[in-house]
Assembly symmetry: C3
Homo-oligomer: 154 residues x 3
């Protein structure tokens, strides 16, 4: 049996900045012929939720790398400003918005999975999720799929 | 020599929401006969600290997926409200509280390890940690245990 | 062909507390003869940016494990206070400051890589980065280097 290289990425964060690493790596993997699966859980469910995926945000509060004093970052409007800025930079680099990127990696053969426990906790059903989702699965099913894979938890 | 499948999870966050993914995955792994080890470090030490494990919180500030304006999320009481809400949802799904979950995965054969450097940095000794902790070990000892394992950093 | 053990760590956070886990693990790996690579992306770019590496901060806001009410943690001065405290604890344990630690792991043979997309997004060039950086590479090049490695995403 030939061992195929596999990458399985758990996406647990729901911010715009933490949505991209999983998509970028899954996309690169598929371009190299590496099997790829994205498994969304906890706050990461936002990335595959129809009415949230287009409204992901970057939050300056709590992130020292945004170089904004914490009491300024928490002011009304700051999150939207940071989000708009990041979206512009991303667009300049010809990187697609998250919804389009999901479609792209899915078309390239990347599996898109939602976590059953997170879906139940957040009262989300299949209809609430973007079409690309291949299924809602439990932790054991995820571990089965991820056998032999390199893992990442984002 | 047969290669046993292994999962080694580093838990570095001390929030309620980020305590669960490691426990859920370690539990699923053990149910499937996969070797599992949880290694607690940095803020994750709270999860295995006796007087903290029952008081882990979910913080809306800095987390856009909680859909609360940052200046609201930072108001007094908001963290407690979010924590209470998440605990209720978790209970509804019959998922045990963190302390009980630690006991459960440990009984199922999952190793529970504390990081030596983090313990020293936070002035914690063995007595401060829950009984399930199998030992306080350094990074090299962790890497030894994790040989051949799939790794996750939470 | 003998399979060498490898560790590839993606560093995506720019805070002082999240700079250390990657360095500590890479250092431990090298001491054990394990191949190690650090790949810096997104906010993690701060860790290898010349004018930022010495000014990484710990932010109490958004981190319940710092045990400070969120509305207090966001007050001016709190971030600096938490940062000073952590630096003292780190120094007491004879762990080097981040810049020195980068040099140390690099001297020990750990690869230090910057993410091309993040560099472009943040308008950083090779000159902005510390000398230890071995190159600015894309996601596909990273995946190539990481073949057969145990992966971590910090």
């Amino acid at each position: 049996m030939s061992e195929e290289r596999k990458l399985a990425i758990i996406c647990s964060k729901g911010s715009l900045d933490m949505a991209y690493p999983g998509l970028v790596l899954a996309n690169a993997a598929r371009m190299m012929g590496i099997e790829a699966d994205l498994f969304f859980t906890f706050w990461g469910m936002d990335i595959i939720t129809k009415d949230k995926v287009d409204h992901l945000k970057v939050v300056p509060v709590g992130n020292p790398a945004m170089h904004m004093p914490q009491f300024v970052g928490g002011l009304p409007g700051m999150t939207d400003m940071a989000t708009t800025m990041m979206k512009k930079e991303i667009e300049k680099l010809d990187i697609p918005p998250v919804r389009e990127f999901l479609e792209m990696v899915h078309d390239a053969g990347c599996g898109i999975w939602a976590c059953k426990m997170a879906a139940e906790m957040m009262h989300l059903t299949r209809e609430d999720l973007v079409d690309e989702v291949d299924g809602i699965i439990g932790a054991m099913e995820f571990l089965e799929k991820a056998e032999g894979a390199q893992l990442l938890f984002i």
